[in-house]
Amino acid sequence: MNLPLSWLKDYMNTDGISEQEYADRLTMSGSIVEGIKNLGAEFKNVVVGRITKIEKHPDADKLVVCQVDVGDEEIQIVTGAPNVFEGAVVPVAKHKSTLPGGVKITKGKLRGVVSYGMMCSTDELGISKERATGILILPDDTPIGEDITHTLGLDESVAEFEITSNRPDCMSIIGLARETAATFARDFKIPEIKPTGNNEDVNDYAAVEIADSKLCSRFTARAVKNVKIGPSPKWMQNRLTAAGLRAINNVVDITNYIMLEYGQPMHAYDLDHVEGRKIIVRNAGDGEMLETLDDKPRELKSEMIAISDEKRAIGVAGVMGGANSEVTDDTTTVLFESACFNPVLVRRGAKALGMRTDASALFEKGLDSENCLPAINRACELLQDMGGGEVIGGVIDVYPVKKQNTVLPFEPEKINRFLGTDIPESDMIEYLGRLEFEVKDGSVIVPTFRGDIESMADIAEEVARLYGYDNLPVTMMQGRVVVGGKTFKQKAVDSIRNTLTACGLYEAMTYSFIDPKEFRQTRVPMNNVVKISNPLGEENSVMRTSMLSSIIKTLKVNYNRRASSAKIFEIGMTYNPIGETLPDERQVVAIGMYGKVDFFDLKGIVQNLLSRLGISGAAFETEKENPSYHPGRCAGITAGGKTIGRMGQIHPAVADSFKIDTEIYAAELDLNTMLELATFDRTYKPLPKFPASSRDIALVVEKDISVGEIEKIINSVSSDILEKVKLFDVYEGEQVGENKKSVAYSLTYRAADRTLTDDEVSGMTDKILAALKDGVNAELR
């Protein structure tokens, strides 16, 4: 919302308020001023001139050489504009002038002829965004030599407001003036509207019918005859320009002016083109066609509100009028509309048509039906004052249910308790009074334009913002002690992060949605996924069910940037539909690495992690079937009968599909499963008092016997003195024979209560060897 500051003077005294102070105080009382711009400040040395003579350019067909009177001198300007003529009054940027956007104009030669400046179009003057086809031609009576900012009404400071959606009343000059007056505690008064209207009765000119009161809570209309369409007065044009609107003609300018001043969108119909001179507010028919004011055909839908005459639609209510009843230069009888339409239907209609207009943006926030009448009367007053026509007496006012003021209990103590303040009741009444809330008999009567006020909390906000948020005390919460802290899960996640970073891994974060083709790339099935119905693009359209592609993509970023190695992890969410309304969201700890690493580097990290979490007895077993991983280098990880996840080398074909030409390793560990198994309980074991003895054994076994099997057998031999089993060598080669391997272990024995004898240690070792011979036919080497 743009507010030309001088406009405030219509309603209040603004003397002595600086622009900076204005912006600061309005922002602090709740109307956010994003900035104050002076449109004229961007201009320098741009004046009004009159073309006195036009000659052909000697060397260019499309250029002409003009002599231009700019008041104190006559200068020569070369132009290519097609619309110049002798006697035309035009804006002239002289030598060493500045235009909006910092454009500097200096003298120069065009095809050998000196030009001492430039004549300007509307877009060059910054008053239109569209590219103009010619020079702006000013009215004949414009004083020659006048500063153009004055001519165009641009020597004006304009405050730009960000108005929140709950305050449609502030989408108007009057609303902002009211807030300004309340903020500065000054008097505020809307000038009285002069009564208008001849002896005729508008009901003899037109009729209005609301087919369904749900569509429209009030419809007012007034007629004006003998209308002379022409330009609106300069003061009005200037105000519209300053607020960011374009002047068109007196009738259209008035509807726009009222929308700015009152925040009430209006429409003007050429009454002679309203069939049957009757307006009907009804639901649009599905497929009903209407050409709107922007000359585009529109297909309507039943959820939109149509304004129609007896035969056809003539507008989409609250959005845009139709071309068939548009006010044109030939219009002689105008019907003004000032109505209040259903906000939800206007919003849906505007959305469905893809045309969010200034009017629809206002209606969808919910307007005050009490505002319709003053707005339409003001419009008639303006048109009459400028001699634009003869206003017909009377008003058509279809108002099925008159809007009532909201009345709330006035509870000053409660408000103080809520805010933590000690504001006297009389001060509260004064603040509310400034905002036109009346306090009477223990009640607050809320003005009808404040549809956002529904409860004590709302009243408290009004009080607080005029009292000043910065003046509210600063206290610490009283009352019952609440114990905060982290849950077991949160502590476990902290521990996971600490462990993995201590292992040299960096934490990554990736988007939770991925490209469907990544499922194919990673060979993760895509038959059951959560799909976004309105994604930004295909590449972000499906919620991931696995962390694999995320982790591989992170490796790829670094691989592409020539990092020789990378070790990363991410604790990320996966989303798995489970047949209920919401999917199962499971967090997965994913690890990825490449560079000087192999399976066992990754396995060591996973083992470190499990050990930190107090998960013992995890088994790593070959998983040949997982298509995402190398068939010979993938392990499923289980503990306590539960599957934690898997790890291994990513299948080279998968790596290849991401264009990574190196071995990459990854692990996927289910967080919840780990949490079920994790414990941070640790029990102290007394430090050993007696020495340990150890025996090294080297075994020869079949090559395909896994060390896991061997260790299982060793550990199964019941022994309370075997303290530790450590693999220290695996060897394959001629010396051990074809299809065999040698596996060497160091076995450590210790008893808590005595020093072990040689016999005990040897006996136990023999028992283990016997079991190994039995189980996997292991021979001592």
Binding site: M28, G30, I32, T164, S165, R167, P343, V344, R347, L419, G420, T421, S455, A457, D458, E461, Y469, D470, L472, P473, V474, T475, M476, M477, G479, R480, V481, V482, V483, G484, G485, K486, T487, R497, T501, A502, L505, Y506, E507, A508, M509, T510, S512, V530, I532, N534, P535, L536, N540, N558, R561, A563, A566, K567, I568, F569, M573, T581, L582, P583
Partner: protein, 341 residues
């Protein structure tokens, strides 16, 4: 003979003093005390002395011997010490050569900052609660006083799964879920991922993180909201941080405010970080709307409370001077390695 002994003593003293190393010392020992040494020779010649002279010279010879022995011992100690020193000197290394750093990783900067925020609020008695990211429209909007067709829904461009299910646009639905289940007093923060269909640029991402807080109890005031956020801001940005509360509008709070902090860089003077304003907007907050309380089965006549929310990316960007939000989700190690904290 007496003179000879005294000469030996003084010669030995002089020579010992100038002995340069252990080897020279050893040859001096041989020279004086060895089997063929000078003192040994004198001792051997004592047989030819008179009965009266013998004990006198004998004593003197022993004294000289004792003197040389202890001088030898002392010198040996000194020279050994010196030799050790020389050896250590020879072992001198260039301490400026690089150390061997065991490779350590780092948490993501967003999580580092999140940990700081969590610690501050845990210190004030808050718990941390999480909730689903794929959420019901009801929890994300309706329960928060944003019914269908509410114009404010437009400001949060939403990813939908279907008509009722969406990717949450804020972490506030977690608050609703907590209020439905838990009786006041409630004191929680809910950090997490949120989604909005914003096109990616330096300050927008379709995925980002929020940290929201909620307090509900009897007698909670707006002044308490100010107090709590002031403690938070001072802990995070330093004790000289000032706060500015500006009235604003959020559908789920009333009164509502936006909070600016005095620029931590220029202390309010105006600089490039605060774009010359002296203030930086960091969060939105307000008193929980009575409708929201009622929607969650909490009686607004008995209880009141406040809520606040901030963007984790924004806080982190200010903290480390990061200018482009995309870096957080790109995961270039050259970026991640800068935040070993």
């Amino acid at each position: 003979m007496k003179d000879r002994l005294n000469t030996i003593k003084s010669n030995a003293e002089t020579e010992l003093n100038s002995a340069a190393d252990l080897k020279a010392l050893e040859s001096l020992r041989v020279k004086y005390l060895g089997k063929k040494g000078e003192l040994t020779a004198v001792m051997k010649g004592m047989g030819g002395l008179s009965k009266e002279e013998r004990p006198v010279i004998g004593r003197l010879a022993n004294t000289v011997r004792g003197f040389i022995e202890s001088a030898l011992e002392e010198k040996k100690k000194a020279l050994t010490e010196k030799a050790k020193e020389l050896r250590l000197m020879a072992e001198t290394i260039d301490v400026a050569l690089p150390g061997r750093m065991p490779e350590m990783g780092a948490k993501h900067p967003l999580n580092t900052v999140l940990d700081d925020l969590q610690d501050i609020f845990i210190g004030m008695g808050f718990s941390i609660v999480e909730g689903p990211e794929v959420e019901l429209d009801y929890y994300n909007f309706e329960a928060l006083n944003l019914p269908p067709d509410h114009p404010a829904r437009d400001t949060q461009d939403t990813f939908y799964i279907n008509d009722n299910v969406l990717l949450r646009t804020q972490t506030s639905p977690v608050q609703v879920r907590v209020m439905e289940k838990q009786k006041p007093p409630i004191r929680i923060i809910s950090p997490g991922r949120v989604y909005r269909s914003d096109t990616v640029d330096a300050t927008h991402s379709p995925v980002f993180h929020q940290v929201e807080g909620l307090v509900i109890d009897k007698g909670i005031t707006m002044a308490d909201l100010k107090g709590t956020l002031e403690v938070f801001a001072k802990k995070l940005y330093g004790d000289d941080t000032r706060l500015r509360f500006r009235p604003h509008h959020f559908p789920f709070t009333e009164p509502s405010a936006e909070v600016d902090i005095s620029c931590f860089n220029c202390k309010g003077e105006g600089c490039s970080i605060c774009k010359g304003e002296g203030w930086i907007e960091i969060l939105g907050c307000g008193m929980v709307h009575p409708k929201v309380l009622r929607n969650c089965g909490i009686d607004p006549e008995v209880y009141s409370g406040f809520a606040f929310g901030m963007g984790l990316e924004r806080v982190t960007m200010f903290r480390y001077g990061i200018k482009d939000l995309r870096l957080f989700y790109e995961n270039d190690l050259q970026f991640l390695k800068q935040f070993k904290i």
